[in-house]
Amino acid sequence: MSEELYKEMAQSIIDGDSDISAELARKAVELKIHPLEAITNGFVVGVTYIGDQFGKGDAFLPELVMAGEAMKAAIAVLEPELLKLGESREMLGRVVLATVEGDIHEIGKTLVGTMLSASGFEVIDLGVDQPADKIIGKALEVNANLIGMSALLTTTMVRQREVIEELDKEGLRPRIKVMVGGAPITKDWVDKIKADGYSEDAIGAVKVAKELVGKA
């Protein structure tokens, strides 16, 4: 019975269908299946499959994003049940994401958030136009081990340095690692501002984040 259900769960992720994945999660709750088992034996199998297909070049980014969304929908149902049991999912790390102050471009950052949460990170996305104190304040509040910052403009990417300098001043690194991204971000820039990591795309960002939290 549950074997069949696990298969359907995996398939809902592969199909990127958030309605069905949430419905299957509710079904698991009704059937008193342990939430962690539903996640591990069902939904994660789908995520892994899509990830493998993507790696082989047989799946594309929209499928990856939709799998991530479907996963999120299932987790949203199962997580409260897990908390009721006094348990929690083991996460790879907690990431605060933001587009820096003065910049409203967020597609890339949002994509990174989707990829990170689909890969087992807890993601707190502050949105766009975020000043250094907000970003750092949130990271401290939620005890994040990673900050991810995006900038699309050469005039706003300097804000990434401000956040890093502020973190250093407060002695918050290396406890909090920093990764940066955005179209104008180059390796030279990353070295210059002493960020811990960067990636040119969302897929690469997951790898970098895993390395930074020592879970590569």
């Binding site: 929209p62 597609i107 994509l111 104008p184």
Partner: protein, 484 residues
């Protein structure tokens, strides 16, 4: 006709119809429906107030504006169909009249392959100067986009340092996409007015034009809107560029992507016309398809080429000039991909007579400047220019006398007719047509020759200098914007 040492495409003999009138009508109707029902985000207090006064439905909290079609259509009708981009040297003024394709340099990148070492490094103010100087010398480049970000200058006045650098090193028209807030826009206008000889003169002779990027899907940047409104007020030509990308910032389908981008551009253009009826505006676009594997801006590929040919048909429908993105490439060095993408994108955008063609010089998705790439892009433009002249068929070109004189067998090398017309054939600068053995001894190619030409130009070309007093005034204006 071309102005002083500038080669522009005009009186085209080739035609291409990528969209039918019915297609255009459908895209237009979809656009109006998007603006009316879905809305467009205008995160600027001033813009929202203008929309409110014009009778639009304004959501002040979300900063989303929904506008009835007749308001948009009436506003767009007020835009001038043709005007000129003035240059420091009036002989280099450019016509945006539907009958000229003017090539610009690309902008605003962040790295450069150093002209001497070939090593990739972060861009600086001197690069902006050097590129302006080389572009000033070429006949293909008709106007400048500010090419690279002057990352060694303070951010709050960077756009102004860049403008000064170009004006000091070239007499051609300057367009910037790097002035996108009120302070810098006011200062840039002051600089342009000084150069033109006063505010009234600036309206007659806009030596500066402004390009603002939209924030797709269906959004704008607040600073960009405020800067554009200031520019429109003083008659500085202003355009909004959409780069809606299939699958990420736009629908996956090309028609849907065109509609979303069109809604961004048309809504913002209508805003300028409502605020300042008759202000010179242009449509700007560089739509693309996102790469399905990494989501990146592709800059090239068949979708881009089709967008290049389709957008001028839309701009013509609204009867405003177009600035079209071309020459974009994902290539990391000047190679097969760069040549292919540059050739097809520039051809497709030129064949429909896009008024401005942007732009030569970049690699890696408009991030890395290469002087060799710039020169080779210029040659591609020259080839397109030649092709657009088409084939002239008349008694003279049918060459009946020469044909009779040569008869069967023989050759045409000794004919007066040949001598008379031989310079009409295209003479490439960077194509390898040498004997194999000659190549074998040197093993050089287009990239080497293009780079050598750029180096020679940079060394030898001295543009007409800018009045020293003006430079001083520019410094004063820039200082006033820089933080103390």
């Amino acid at each position: 006709m071309s102005s002083k040492n500038i080669k522009t495409i005009s009186n085209p003999k080739l035609k291409l119809e990528v969209l039918t009138q019915d297609d255009v009508r459908k895209i237009h109707e979809a656009t109006l429906q998007i603006i009316e029902k879905v809305g467009v985000r205008f995160p600027s207090k001033r813009a929202l107030e203008i929309w409110q006064a014009a009778g639009a439905d304004v959501d002040h909290e979300k900063k989303i504006v929904r506008v009835k079609p007749h308001i948009i259509e009436e506003a767009i009708k007020k835009a001038p169909p043709a005007y000129k981009l003035a240059a420091r040297d009036p002989q280099q003024d450019l016509q945006l009249d539907g009958n000229h394709v003017n090539l610009g340099t690309d902008g605003c990148g962040v790295e450069i392959l150093d002209i001497n070492t070939g090593v990739k490094r972060t861009s600086c103010l001197q690069d902006v100067r050097d590129i302006a100087r080389v572009a000033d010398a070429t006949e293909e480049v008709a106007f400048h986009w500010v090419s690279l970000s002057a990352q060694d200058t303070p951010v709050e006045a960077r756009g102004l340092h860049e403008l000064k650098a170009v004006w000091e090193n070239s007499t051609k028209h300057v367009q910037t996409e790097s002035v996108y807030n009120v302070e810098e826009a006011k200062a840039a206008i002051e600089m342009a007015a000084l150069l033109a000889g006063g505010r009234d003169k600036l309206r007659e002779r806009p030596v500066l034009s402004l390009m603002q990027c939209t924030a797709p899907p269906l959004g704008h940047d607040g600073g960009s809107l405020d800067a554009a409104l200031l520019a429109a007020e003083v008659g500085i030509p202003t355009g909004f560029m959409t780069m809606a990308a299939c699958a990420t910032t736009g629908p996956i389908t090309l028609a849907g992507d065109l509609a979303v981008g069109n809604a961004e551009v048309i809504a913002a253009t209508a805003l300028l016309q409502i605020a300042y009826p008759g202000a010179p505006v242009f449509y700007a676009a560089a739509q693309t398809a996102s790469d399905l594997r990494n989501g990146s801006y592709t800059g090239g590929g068949p979708e881009d080429f089709l967008f290049g040919a389709a957008t001028n048909i839309l701009a013509d429908f609204y009867n405003i000039p177009l600035s079209m993105g071309a020459f974009a490439t994902g290539a990391k060095e000047p190679n097969w991909q760069a040549g292919l993408e540059g050739a097809l994108s520039s051809f497709m955008a030129s064949v429909v007579m896009s008024d401005m063609l942007l732009g030569c010089g970049f690699l890696h998705g408009s991030r890395i400047w290469s002087f060799a790439e710039m020169m080779m892009d210029c040659e591609i433009f020259s080839i397109v220019h030649k092709m657009m002249e088409g084939i002239v068929v008349n008694d003279e070109t049918l060459a009946m006398e020469a044909i009779a004189a040569v008869g069967p067998g023989g050759h045409y090398l000794g004919q007066k007719h040949t001598r008379k017309h031989m310079r009409e054939l295209f003479m490439p600068q960077f194509m390898d047509r040498r004997p194999y053995s000659e190549w074998e001894t040197k093993k050089d190619d287009a990239r080497d020759w293009a780079l050598a030409k750029a180096r020679k130009t940079l060394k030898e070309h001295q543009p007409d200098p800018l009045d020293a007093q003006l430079s001083k005034e520019f410094d004063r204006i820039i200082k006033s914007v820089e933080k103390k």
